[in-house]
């Protein structure tokens, strides 16, 4: 079984129980007459308070894996256990609760609500947690301060730079104090400097005790990672296999050109 554990940079403490266990995970999509195996048998364990970077070329299934972990999609088969809870068996309402309480999601395209300012965007998920407006705004303010945007609280997304929008999205992901932060290409739409600051922010979250899982193409993120997972064609592979596959891909591309 391949696992994030296998690629640990630092020694793991065996007494820790995994926060996420994935066993025999498959996700198939039907496209016309074809069945696409986006995830083709992934086994993975992720320990608490780690920063795991999932890398792989486009179409390798890394975003699909993240969406399955976030309860935004359902597996075709296999188990996903998060905090001893089998999330693949949850119904819609339970999944909504899981998304609200256990995970915070950061998207490449930020997914900020354009009609709301930064403060309202951050406070938005708390509306459904039955928290009073005053408390919501206070908490959202504190989170904006934490991501360095307290002076932009009343700016709408269109009035913010890409990096600032992603910071707002990170603050929003933290609003219900989830244990797990899932980031899907968080630096994908950002310039190098903004991307770098987002990586530092994610690293800070990890250091503050969160379990952070980042799907990215950006190899700079590896600098902050405690674990790396490589995906190829919907399967986890070793770093060596991933590198040799990347070299082969580059060679075939240059021959084609």
């Amino acid at each position: 079984m391949l696992s994030a554990h296998s690629f640990s940079k630092s020694s793991m403490t065996n007494r820790d129980r995994p926060i996420i266990s994935i066993n025999g995970l498959h996700k198939d999509f039907i496209m016309g007459d074809q069945i696409v195996h986006a995830i083709a048998g992934v086994d993975l364990t992720i320990m608490p308070n780690t920063l795991t970077v999932i890398m792989g070329p486009s179409g390798s299934g890394k975003s699909t894996l993240l969406y399955l972990l976030g309860g935004l999609d359902r597996p075709s088969s296999g188990d996903i256990i998060v905090n001893d809870r089998a999330i693949h068996t949850l119904d819609e309402n339970q999944l909504a609760k899981y998304r609200r309480q256990t995970v915070g999601f950061i998207f490449q395209s930020f997914n900020l609500i354009p009609t709301m300012d930064a403060l309202q965007n951050v406070a938005f998920p708390m509306r459904f947690a039955r928290i009073k407006t005053k408390q919501r705004n206070q908490q959202a303010s504190e989170l904006l301060k934490r991501v360095g945007l307290d002076d932009r609280a009343h700016h709408r997304p269109t009035e913010l730079s890409g990096g600032q929008q992603q910071r707002v999205a990170i603050a929003r992901a933290l609003v219900n104090n989830p244990q797990i932060i899932l980031a899907d290409e968080p630096t994908g739409n950002l310039d190098t400097a903004s991307g770098g600051s987002i990586m530092h922010l994610l690293s800070d979250l990890h250091r503050s005790g969160k379990t952070v899982i980042v799907v990215t193409h950006d190899s700079r993120m590896n600098r902050f990672a405690t674990h790396q997972v490589y995906l190829l064609d919907g399967k986890t592979v070793t770093e060596e296999e991933y590198i040799s596959a990347s070299v082969l891909e580059l060679t075939s591309e240059s021959q084609t050109n």
Partner: protein, 260 residues
């Protein structure tokens, strides 16, 4: 003491107007008048209830439009998971529902038809149950009692209007509905609908119907309470079911916001 008994031919005249405040502090006298005269006296209280309901709809509608203008629409849970394209599509669809037809006319029609149908149903069920329990049933008197006993709801509407105007906020969880707040579950929506109707004014209305029924139908207190419980509960459950259906089918919900 001034005599407030109307002449037999009156349907909505000065003495009847005087009955309206009297129902709040001298209800026994009003119900005695209803029993003695046996005429259609339900129009005055129903008109009062209609006016306050329309006032409620107007103020709620105005606030909804204000909130929508400020971009604070009541967005669905997990809206942050919608992609930017899905968010845009949802908001465009929401704009359609901000017109006067959706904000004022349809809610007003729904509220008024709810009032009249509930009144007819409770009045009819009261007549049926009092007859079954051996009382001196009379459909006209049951309808009169139901209409006059419903006037505390007008007071509730007035208080809600004032509260909304002062706070500039909609009343999101009326009655005890806050206890059933889980937006994703059908049973919670149903019980939320039931509980939203339960408040101090309902207890007041029930008390007035029981009092009116005892005086007009000559049945014991226990039987009167049973008749009212059966009638009011039945209508509440039907209203809650309709509310659930409206919430499920009338809401602008993206059924598959993600991938499954």
């Amino acid at each position: 003491m001034q005599d407030i008994t109307p002449s037999p031919n009156q349907t909505l005249s000065s003495p009847l107007i005087k009955w309206i405040p009297s129902i709040f502090y001298r209800p026994r006298r009003i119900f005695e008048n209803l029993t003695n005269s046996k005429r259609r006296y339900w129009l005055a209280p129903m008109l009062v209830l209609m006016v306050t309901i329309l006032g409620n709809v107007l103020v709620s509608g105005w606030l909804k439009q204000q909130i929508a203008t400020m971009g604070q629409d009541s967005l669905p849970a997990d809206f942050q998971y919608y992609s930017p394209e899905q968010q845009t599509q949802y908001m465009q669809a929401m704009q359609v529902t901000q017109g006067p037809v959706f904000v004022y006319i349809l809610p007003a029609l729904a509220a008024l038809s709810g009032l009249w149908l509930s009144w007819l149903a409770i009045g009819g069920l009261l007549y049926l149950t009092t007859t079954l329990f051996g009382g001196r049933g009379d459909m006209l008197i049951s309808l009169n009692v139901t209409a006059w006993a419903g006037l505390p709801m007008a007071l509730r509407d007035i208080i809600r209007i004032v509260a909304m105007l002062v706070s500039k906020q909609l009343i999101s969880h009326p009655g005890l509905s806050g206890f059933a707040y889980t937006p994703d579950s059908n049973s919670s929506i149903f019980w939320g609908q039931v509980l939203s109707q339960i408040d101090i004014y309902l207890i007041w209305v029930v008390f007035l119907i029981v009092l009116g029924l005892r005086l007009t139908s000559n049945i014991s207190l226990g039987k009167a309470i049973s008749c009212v419980a059966i009638s009011v509960l039945s209508v509440f459950l039907i209203r809650a079911l309709i509310g659930l259906a409206v919430a499920k089918f009338g809401g602008l919900n993206v059924v598959r916001p993600f991938f499954f």
